[in-house]
């Protein structure tokens, strides 16, 4: 294709775009040399590409756009770790410590586990023999009243019977030391435990209902309350004395 003044602009454009063959490129250069007035245009075309290859500036978006998967979500909740620890500690301190809610199953398990060592359990003044270890005694204290509340009512009538039975069997000899079968021992252990719980429960309810009065009565049992001296009322003598009339003649 022949280059002329009408299409030289397009050729110059193609020259710098790299769309021309070597032969065509040479034609363009020859034309520019032939017509120096196009040299200026040729240079301007060249300058219009000056920005090519310019590196991109840093817009500081990378850190905001990078995804961290689940780590990002976890990092949002890192602050809550101390709060959770504090909450757990406070729950343990105020909830678990004040009202121990030990699992009754584990307590039973430990009772069964330690049924070889006999211990003496007192119930309402009468001693009942049962085989249990100090651990089971400890768990007696730790087991909650609520966990046994249902069984207390169901089994409580049998407590006295069981106690009587044991007392009769042993006939008061050596305070009834006996190595019963584990199951029987366990049942006995439970009944004793329940009876203790019942007692403590009754004591607790009594102590609640008789909060102030009971405290006074307890103290009165220990120390006789000081007898209040009744103040005698000053009796008023309605009979007028003869002096009164003399002193008050107008009366």
């Amino acid at each position: 294709m022949k280059i002329h003044k009408e299409n030289i602009e397009e050729f110059m454009f193609d020259y710098f775009e790299g769309n021309l063959s070597d032969a065509d490129k040479q034609q363009v250069l020859d034309f520019v040399h032939e017509y120096p007035e196009y040299e200026k245009d040729f240079v301007l075309w060249a300058k219009s590409y000056a920005h090519i290859g310019e590196p991109a500036p840093n817009y500081n978006l990378t850190n905001g756009l990078i995804q961290h998967g689940n780590k990002v979500q976890l990092q949002k909740y890192y602050w809550s770790a101390p709060v959770l620890i504090l909450a757990a500690l406070s729950f343990w301190w105020f909830g678990y410590r004040q009202e121990p809610n030990h699992d009754s199953k584990t307590a039973k398990y430990e009772v069964l586990k330690s049924n070889s060592v006999p211990t003496q359990v007192h119930k309402g003044g009468s001693s009942i023999q049962a085989s249990s270890s100090p651990i089971s005694q400890k768990h007696k204290e730790e087991t909650t009243i609520e966990s046994k509340a249902n069984t207390i009512e169901g089994l409580s009538p049998s407590v006295s019977e069981t106690a009587k039975m044991h007392k009769d069997q042993n006939n008061g000899e050596s305070q009834g030391h006996e190595h019963a079968e584990p199951l029987v021992q366990h049942k006995l252990q439970d009944t004793v435990e329940i009876s203790n719980r019942k007692e403590t429960r009754i004591d607790h309810t009594q102590s609640v209902t008789d909060s102030m009065s009971s405290s006074k009565s307890i103290s009165s049992e220990k120390e006789p309350a000081p007898v209040k001296k009744k103040k005698k009322r000053n009796s008023i003598d309605l009979n007028t004395s003869p002096k009164f009339i003399e002193q008050n003649p107008n009366f």
Partner: protein
């Protein structure tokens, strides 16, 4: 492809192209703040559709998405105001920087010319690739580019001190 692999591919795309995508939007919109918003939107779309995207062509996908987002932005801007305010070219006579002059000259181009010029000169896309991105054929792209360069050349020519 596992989630971890997709995550790595996405993050690599961010590292490779975030500034280039943002520059494209910046020079196209002549508004850095909007450019950053659009770049973030483009990468958010990439993250949302990461499982459906072929990461071998992620660069093309990013620039196409950014171009469309920019066009939507310009369309909204034009609807809100009849007049399009573009930055006036600044003439710094004492210390002329040719790149700065060319950057200013971009304001003289329309959006299509500017998009094609940016994709060609900064990203090195061919006419066919640009045509695919902005829904034009090769010859149309070439014509737009020729007119864009002519305007820039004339703008540079007006500043006689440059030569």
């Amino acid at each position: 492809m596992s989630k971890q692999e997709l995550l790595n591919l996405y993050n690599q795309a961010v590292r490779d192209y975030d500034n280039r995508v943002c520059r494209f939007a910046d020079k196209l919109l002549m508004d850095r703040t909007s450019a950053k918003d659009i770049t973030q939107e483009a990468f958010m779309k990439l993250w949302q559709h990461k499982e459906a995207i072929d990461f071998a062509k992620v660069k093309s996908w990013l620039f196409t998405t950014t171009y469309r987002l920019c066009m939507d932005h310009i369309g909204r801007k034009n609807r809100n105001s009849d007049t399009v305010y573009l930055e006036e070219p600044s003439y710094e006579l004492e210390s002329p920087d040719l790149k700065k002059i060319i950057h200013d000259a971009l304001a003289l181009l329309n959006e299509t010319q500017r998009s094609i010029l940016l994709l060609k000169d900064y990203e090195g896309y061919s006419y066919a690739e640009i045509g695919e991105m902005i829904q034009l054929n090769d010859s149309q792209v070439k014509v737009y580019l020729f007119r864009a360069r002519q305007k820039i050349k004339e703008h540079i020519g007006d500043l006689k001190f440059v030569i």
